[in-house]
């Protein structure tokens, strides 16, 4: 009976496992394999795919563009995750409060989620075009600026920050915020009202209620959310590729874009795989860290 039950369970998960294996695990392993061989489309039909060990990793790390890209990816992810969490916590509190029009507000906040990143990028490219940006027009009309802000093309930098990078992060946050808000809103609704009442009896201020009640109760959800946002940020592609292609001067280039460029522009699938391998290692590290903490909690 137990055996039959197991068999039934395996049968039920088999389709999902098959699809995951064929479309997720196999390509991932194949890509990892490519990062350890020479996989140059211009030479593959004559020279095959000889094993080269870590040469591809050495080559990408000796490319200053990749090093900058790695750094950009980390900055991009930190900024995007921090901003999404900050705004997400604020907005979810607002949406959790009781007031007229709350449903409409919730719908409005979700709107960016319905816009695919590719479409969002096209819309924001227009909104941030130097010469045609309505934002620039508004700022000029308000007398706040005299010359157009080059949202996506200004190559001036302040340390690791630049206007194009901040613009791209803003679009990423705009597009990803609803996901975080829904996550946090669901978690907020599951916090027992009695905890807040007890805090009120103890004379807790609004900030103390947030710090000592809300935040600890949100911690498990926040851990999942941060993990997902970091993994999403490290593997982010569409917005950067479509809006700036990594430019100007590599300021907004991130690893997924670099990997795409190596494969489909320069025919170097081996270097592309090595760059992807770095994303895999980084996301893998985050995932292991998260899983270990979850297992500890369960234990």
């Amino acid at each position: 009976m137990t055996r039959q039950k197991y068999l039934f369970c395996y049968l039920m998960v088999a389709p999902a496992m098959l699809i995951t294996t064929a479309l997720g695990i196999y390509p991932m392993l194949f890509s990892l394999w490519m990062s350890f061989v020479e996989y140059d489309l211009l030479r593959i039909n004559q020279f095959g795919t000889p094993f080269v060990g870590l040469d591809n990793y050495v080559e990408v790390f000796s490319d200053p563009r990749f090093v900058q890209t790695l750094f950009n990816t980390i900055i991009f992810t930190i900024l995007a995750v921090a901003a999404t969490l900050g705004f997400g916590l604020l907005l979810s509190q607002v949406l959790n409060a009781n007031y007229r029009g709350r449903t409409a507000m919730r719908m409005l906040v979700c709107v960016p989620w319905f816009v695919p990143p590719a479409v969002a990028s096209a819309i924001w490219m227009w909104l941030l075009n130097t010469d045609r940006s309505p934002i620039n027009f508004l700022l000029q009309d308000a007398g706040l600026i005299t010359s157009n802000i080059r949202w996506l093309t200004d190559s001036a930098t302040w340390g690791p920050f630049s206007i194009p990078m901040m613009s791209i992060v803003a679009v990423r946050v705009w597009n990803g915020l609803p996901f975080a808000v829904i996550f946090l809103l669901a978690a907020l609704q599951s916090i027992p009202r009695s905890l807040y009442e007890a805090a009120e009896v103890d004379g807790a201020s609004l900030w103390q209620k947030f710090w000592y009640v809300t935040l600890p109760m949100l911690r498990p959800v926040l851990a999942i959310l941060i993990t997902l946002l970091v993994i999403g940020g490290l593997g982010s592609f569409e917005i950067n590729y479509i809006m700036t292609g990594g430019g100007p001067q590599n300021l907004t280039n991130i690893m997924a874009v670099y990997s795409y460029q190596q494969a489909f522009s320069f025919y170097r699938f081996d270097l592309a795989s090595a760059a992807s391998g770095m994303i895999f290692i980084m996301t893998g590290f985050i995932s292991i860290f998260y899983l270990r903490s979850q297992l500890k909690r369960v234990a």
């Binding site: 140059d40 489309l41 211009l42 030479r43 593959i44 039909n45 004559q46 020279f47 563009r65 490219m125 941030l128 075009n129 130097t130 010469d131 045609r132 005299t146 010359s147 157009n148 080059r150 996506l152 093309t153 190559s155 479509i242 809006m243 700036t244 292609g245 990594g246 430019g247 100007p248 001067q249 590599n250 280039n253 670099y258 460029q261 190596q262 489909f264 522009s265 320069f266 025919y267």
Partner: protein, 447 residues
């Protein structure tokens, strides 16, 4: 009672088996009928040009006429441009391929296919077009030859003359568009306008019609008398005075004369929108599809724009960017003869004129460009004239499209961006680019 569940299980299986058998029989019968109807079947892939529905209708008509004439059935599949590159990259690596197709980038896809996959030479069939050299523009024919082998018939040509706003020139008191590089600067200065805060409201001159630095550079470099590589595709030849002169000219337009936007190579740049909205007065090397697109989509701009052959560079050359799409055969084709018949049918002067009319694309066949179809409007005559100055944008190396890729990290991208936009040292950049380009050529020529 105990047998009943077994019976109920078997019944759906039997039903399913019967249905599967019927389906297999029906498929076999259909296939047999089809094979009986057309002794030869070939597959043909193409990318859409102009209006998609009109393009598909045109091929329905052409295949139907060809079937009647030859008994050969051609199955046409239109591949969207958004997936075309990846499709041909897969084909060149041994993926599923048609018998014949409308292709491009011969050198890269041939190089990747390495004589096993992708475009197949059809030199032994070249005599089927005995007057090829007289019938077609020279620049377009270069795009269908590789290592002395003949690969197909060019059918559309991306030629890029200069485009300008007649209303702005008139307003600035300019009688004729620039005829050489000096006049580009003179007129650009007159045409550039700024608001009270110094913000540019109209740029006098845009170098090209897309944000690809490599493609933008090419015509100017040729106009200065330069060449990208030797004819055998083995040696890079960009470290020379022609390159330095060209980059200096382009750099000065942006940084000294300030008549060209420093954002021209960014992804967010939109030269078409700039030109139609009046924020750019002259586009030095326009997009081949713009004129017909303007006729179709911007009737309100009629009479405010015109084409002209490209201005002459310091050596008097007027080379224009040119690139041809061609009909060819692929390795693994099950019926090369049928494919040749199909390409011969498509490449008759009448059919090429019909195709040019539907797609709006300039034709590499001389008779089409001198026909009534291409001489009705002044811009069409300029387009035809510019074809005489057409210089192929394809170079004889499999790695060429990586060298000229519109992505940062590509040799020409970095060279042009860092000097023209970044204002970097031209000598150092050219020396570095020459070395990098040579490394890339060596990579492609390692065999």
């Amino acid at each position: 009672m105990t047998h009943r569940p077994a019976d109920t299980t078997k019944t759906p299986f039997r039903l399913l088996a019967r249905r599967a058998a019927s389906l297999a029989l029906a498929t076999a019968l259909t296939t047999t009928t089809a094979m009986g109807g057309y002794a030869q079947d070939i597959t043909f892939w193409t990318q859409p040009q102009g209006d998609l529905l009109a393009y598909q209708d045109m091929f329905d008509t052409l295949t139907s006429e060809f079937r009647e004439q030859s008994g050969i059935n051609v199955s046409v599949e239109v591949i969207n441009w958004s997936v075309a590159f990846n499709t041909w990259l897969t084909v060149a690596q041994g993926g599923a391929a048609p018998d014949c197709a409308d292709m491009y980038w011969l050198h890269s896809f041939s190089g990747i296919g390495a004589g096993r996959f992708g475009p197949m030479p059809i030199t032994q069939y070249k005599d089927q077009w005995p007057t090829l050299e007289e019938d077609f523009y020279e620049g377009a024919l270069v795009d269908v030859h590789r290592n002395g082998e003949f690969y197909g018939i060019p059918w559309r040509v991306d030629i890029r003359p200069m485009m300008y706003r007649t209303d702005f020139l008139q307003e600035a008191g300019i009688d004729a568009p620039p005829d050489n590089w000096e006049q580009i600067v003179e007129q650009g200065l007159k045409l550039t306008q700024r608001d009270a805060n110094g913000n540019v409201t109209r740029w006098g001159f845009a170098l090209g019609a897309n944000n690809n630095p490599g493609q933008t550079l090419m015509p100017y470099y040729w106009q200065a008398g330069g060449a990208m590589m030797t004819e055998d595709g083995r040696t890079a030849t960009i470290d020379n005075d022609a390159m330095r002169t060209t980059l200096k000219f382009m750099q000065d337009l942006v940084h000294v004369h300030k008549i060209t936007s420093p954002e021209i190579f960014e992804k967010s740049a939109d030269p078409l929108a700039d030109f139609t909205s009046g924020t750019v007065a002259i586009v030095g090397s326009t997009n081949n599809s713009w004129p017909s697109q303007f006729d179709r989509d911007y009737p309100e701009l009629e009479g405010t724009w015109a084409l002209e052959i490209n201005p002459a560079g310091p050596t008097g050359e007027r080379d224009s960017f040119s690139g041809a799409g061609y009909w060819g055969v692929l390795y693994g084709s099950k019926d090369v003869d049928a494919c040749i018949d199909w390409i011969k049918f498509l490449s008759t002067p009448e059919n090429m004129e019909r195709i040019s009319e539907v797609t709006g694309a300039a034709s590499p066949r001389r008779s089409v460009m001198t026909s009534e179809l291409w001489t009705q409007k002044p811009w069409q005559a300029v387009m035809a004239e510019t074809l005489n100055y057409g210089h192929t944008s394809q170079h004889p190396s499999a790695v060429w499209n990586a060298i000229a890729s519109p992505e940062p990290g590509a040799v020409l991208y970095d060279l042009v961006y860092n000097t023209v936009i970044g204002g970097g040292d031209i000598d150092a950049a050219v020396t570095e680019a020459q070395a990098r380009m040579q490394t890339e050529l060596d990579r492609a020529n390692a065999s």
